[in-house]
């Protein structure tokens, strides 16, 4: 196990290095000029040049990247061009909110998706199955800002059950988590349904029936645990999808997380923040996948550490 973890962390470091390089190249190639954003429209050419020198943006690409990388390795994510504060602090202040939203969204999508999938598989080809699968199709296809605004309109504006925007109470959390989880629920319900049907057709389910076990026990002890195995790996990948989702959802619901931070930074070409958020997101994806693999290890006795 320690050897395995060590290898995975080594892999993670390489992935992060690759992500930082690719993101840096993309930002460098961007036609927008961060210095113009900082200096404002009325700035003179000299001011612009002095800011450029100050930020090191006049250097060739590889030197800029090298500077960034060396300070990154010392734990320094740099300073925001516009907000005049440390990127690490900005992210640290907003990360808990985003993590909370993500965990809540994962719970929401699993609760909705798995339940729908299990019910659909058990009631295969019934009208329940068909309606659930239509719903899951809507979940997969509806854009998140549409879902978010719809939920806001119905549950916050019309019914007044939940606050319209903000952060702080459980009530604030429900609608953004549902919005973020709705798409995942669509995927999971379909995957769980087909995984369940696959398992229900296995020989060991017939053995369980031949033993005289009750329906509930066959479902909960034999079918669902086996059907979950392929889903676990998906949850790790999901964290990546959420990372892009929170940018939209946090804007719709005014949720003070790193998604909002990233959105503002992108509009103003605030390179250190964009880099910082990207790296944090990459970290989250790597950790998510690692966690999924470790969970799978405990759930499936056939998997051996490689």
């Amino acid at each position: 196990m320690p050897a395995y973890l060590f290898r995975r962390i080594l892999e993670a470091a390489l992935i992060l290095l690759g992500v930082s390089l690719v993101t840096y190249i993309l930002l460098f190639l961007l036609p927008a000029d961060p210095v113009r954003q900082i200096a404002g429209r009325s700035a003179t050419a000299e001011t612009v040049e002095s800011i450029r020198r100050q930020l090191g943006l006049d250097l060739p690409f590889y030197e800029q990247y090298w500077r960034y990388l060396t300070s990154l390795l010392q734990g320094d994510l740099g300073r925001s061009y516009i907000q005049r504060s440390e990127v690490a602090e900005l992210i640290a202040a907003r990360l808990p909110a985003s993590l909370l939203l993500m965990v809540a969204a994962i719970c929401a999508e699993l609760a909705m998706g798995l339940t729908m999938g299990i019910v659909s598989a058990v009631r295969r080809n019934s009208s329940t199955d068909q309606s659930l699968m239509v719903l899951s199709f809507v979940g997969v296809s509806a854009p998140q800002f549409v879902v978010g605004i719809l939920l806001l309109y119905v549950f916050a504006y019309q019914l007044g059950w939940f606050p319209i925007s903000g952060y702080g109470t459980f009530g604030h959390l429900v609608l953004p988590a549902m919005t973020l989880g709705f798409m995942g629920a669509g995927w999971y319900s379909r995957m769980m349904r087909s995984s369940m049907l696959n398992v229900l057709g296995q020989d060991f389910i017939r053995t369980a029936r031949a033993k005289g076990l009750g329906k509930a026990r066959i479902l909960l002890r034999h079918t669902v645990p086996n059907a979950l195995l392929p889903i676990i790996a998906m949850i790790g990948i999901d964290i990546g999808i959420f990372m892009s989702g929170i940018v939209v959802v946090e804007s719709v619901f005014g949720w003070p997380g790193i998604g909002q931070l990233a959105w503002q930074a992108i509009q103003r070409v605030d390179i250190p923040i964009i880099m910082g958020v990207t790296l944090v997101a990459a970290c989250a994806i790597v950790i998510g996948n690692l966690l999924a693999d470790i969970v799978a290890l405990f759930v499936d006795p056939r998997i051996k550490l490689k």
Partner: protein, 593 residues
């Protein structure tokens, strides 16, 4: 047993059972008005080929039919109670209680994410008022009853850690844990190696006596029928063809179908006293395939840097010759390396040593040059369902090698494919159909036609008839014989089935743990086996003759040893000793395991 059972009346009485299944073309009858009885302490074998309805009969009794199938009329009386009239809840108590069942596939019949102990305990708590430690103690008892080695440790293991034979023992332990009156065994040993099959069959016989259970044994193997049955029901096309006591059935089969079925069964000893003759135009030709010191090892990787941690010694220093027009059979049990040799010949896996095909050394050949050599050597695999791409027509499949080797196109291609179809006994009209429209035997013919398309000199037939029903198997074996006589083909016939091997081969090589332990002309090996392992293999084959004294032989115990070894393991190569008449065997070490 029989007499005593008769006085007690049947424990299971099936009357006029009819089961139908819903298909796209409407309801189809798969069991048609069958009746039979099973008495306490008796073994009733239900014999038949695939599609005869024998498995559906057992699933009907258990109430485990898939949702598309339904019992439409009849009665299934267990101790006078009609199972078909029971509620779901009542039937649940019967299953695993009074009637228990074991299945064919030990590899997939156990839940992979639950320990053996949990699965056994679960069966026990479903039918007994035992919980916790008491249930676990009973589980251990059940494992001991099926003579599982290290039973305590097994309880904590997962199914994938056990061999097929051990898993089948777990299945039997599970089935017997409810003290059933009736045990239904659906092809319980079909997926096992012969020596393991012999152990499991002996175990079932002993348990039947100890527990007084009535056994309904479903099998396609007439050898197993002869070994196990008190009475036999022969099924075909969903009907009972005939039903007799086992000795009477084998001595005087009444129906034509039974007679044909029995005649098609390959019998060990059927060629006794005959010398194998190779039809060859020029005697003394050089070998078409020369294998020298073939070694195949696979590393199993693990650890931090994915370094090799264990090694599979699949084949160790094997030397073989295959002569023109000859059939050389490679026999042995799972994991002995016989299929690996076949794959090496087609260069499908990395190997070391020397292989010469038609005089051409293939070691280190570039892929272009290898392409030309491949024309001489073609493969036919075991599963004709998996070996044909379902999205291509069979004509495309048979013609594909010709297209790949750029040997024919357009109307010439069609003509040659049509000729190949005729050669394997298929109508060329069927060229535009897809594989799913064909039966297993027809599909194997298509695979053979595909192998023949390049005009090879050698065909590697890897268990090519093992998945087929005996009557179809006999036809395909005949076809292989005809093609050999016509085209002078050489076959490397890889098989686990000693009876089939005796029927088709000229020479035999017996493999054990990656090495050849005995090789020689067929008559020599079968009539005078020198190596204990060869004898053990032959002893384990069920003989389709109920008059033969049952279990007049010492059964092998234990598992087939594994070829997986530590990295520093240096295999001991046993030299083959010449015993005369081209008959070789290694020194007679008692085979451990």
């Amino acid at each position: 047993m029989n007499q005593q059972g008769a006085s007690q009346g049947p424990v299971l009485d099936v009357r006029n059972l009819t089961t139908r299944v819903a298909t796209a073309e409407g309801a189809k009858t798969i069991i048609d008005d069958i009746s039979f009885q099973l008495r306490l302490g008796e073994t009733l074998c239900v014999a038949g080929e695939s599609g005869s309805g024998k498995s559906v009969t057992s699933l009907s009794i258990m109430g485990l039919l898939p949702s598309s199938a339904k019992v439409t009329s009849g009665e299934i009386r267990l101790d006078g109670r009609d199972l078909l009239k029971l509620s779901d809840r009542q039937m649940q108590e019967v299953r695993g209680g009074d009637v228990a069942m074991i299945f064919q596939e030990p590899m997939t019949s156990l839940n992979p994410v639950m320990t053996v102990g949990a699965q056994l305990t679960e069966a026990i708590t479903a039918h007994h008022d035992l919980r916790g430690a008491a249930a676990r103690a009973k589980a251990l008892e059940a494992l001991d009853a099926v003579r599982m080695s290290e039973s305590k440790r097994r309880l904590l293991q997962y199914p994938h850690e056990l061999s097929g034979g051990m898993r089948q023992r777990v299945m039997i332990a599970m089935a017997l844990s409810g003290n059933p009156k009736v045990l239904i065994a659906d092809e319980p040993t079909t997926a096992l190696d012969v020596t393991i099959q012999a152990q499991i069959l002996a175990l079932m016989n002993d348990l039947k006596k100890d527990f007084g259970t009535a056994v309904m044994l479903i099998t396609h193997d007439m050898g197993v029928v002869a070994e196990m049955a008190d009475r036999v029901v022969v099924m075909n096309g969903g009907r009972i063809v005939e039903s007799q006591a086992v000795r009477d059935l084998f001595a005087t089969p009444k129906e034509a179908y039974t007679q044909e079925l029995l005649a098609a069964v390959p019998q060990l000893g059927s060629t006794r006293g005959q010398k194998p003759e190779v039809k060859s135009d020029v005697p003394g030709q050089p070998a078409i395939v020369e294998i020298r010191d073939l070694t195949v090892r696979f590393d199993i990787h693990g650890g931090l840097l994915q370094r090799p941690v264990k090694r599979v010694h699949a084949v160790e220093k094997v030397s073989l010759d295959l002569f023109p027009g000859e059939t050389l059979a490679l026999v042995g049990e799972s994991g002995c390396g016989k299929s690996t040799i076949g794959k090496s010949l087609a260069n499908l896996i990395p190997w070391s040593g020397s292989i010469r095909i038609a005089g051409q050394e293939i070691a280190g050949l570039s892929s272009d040059r290898m392409q030309a050599v491949r024309r001489n050597i073609q493969l036919v695999f075991q599963d004709p369902y998996a070996a044909l791409n379902p999205r291509m027509t069979v004509g495309e499949l048979v013609g594909e090698p010709l297209v790949i080797h750029r040997l024919a196109q357009g109307s010439e291609l069609t003509d040659r494919v049509a000729e190949l179809f005729r050669r394997v006994g298929l109508d060329p009209v069927m060229m535009d159909r897809h594989p799913h429209e064909f039966s297993g035997g027809q599909r194997q013919r298509i695979c053979i036609a595909r192998a023949l398309s390049l005009g090879p000199k050698v065909i590697v037939a890897d268990e090519s008839v093992s998945a087929l029903d005996v009557s179809v198997q006999a036809q395909v074996l005949d076809l292989l014989g005809e093609l050999q006589a016509e085209l002078g083909l050489s076959y490397l016939f890889i098989s686990h089935d000693m009876a089939v091997v005796e029927q088709i081969s000229h020479r035999v090589a017996v493999m054990f743990l990656g090495q050849i332990v005995e090789t020689g002309p067929r008559d020599q090996v079968f009539e005078n086996p020198l190596h204990p392992y060869t004898r053990r293999l032959m002893d384990a084959v069920p003989i389709a003759d109920p008059k033969r004294l049952r279990r007049d032989r010492v059964l092998p115990t234990g598992e087939i040893p594994s070829p997986i070894q530590a990295l520093d393991y240096v295999p001991v190569i046993e030299p083959l000793i010449d015993f005369g008449s081209a008959h070789y065997a290694t020194a007679r070490h008692e085979v451990s395991g």
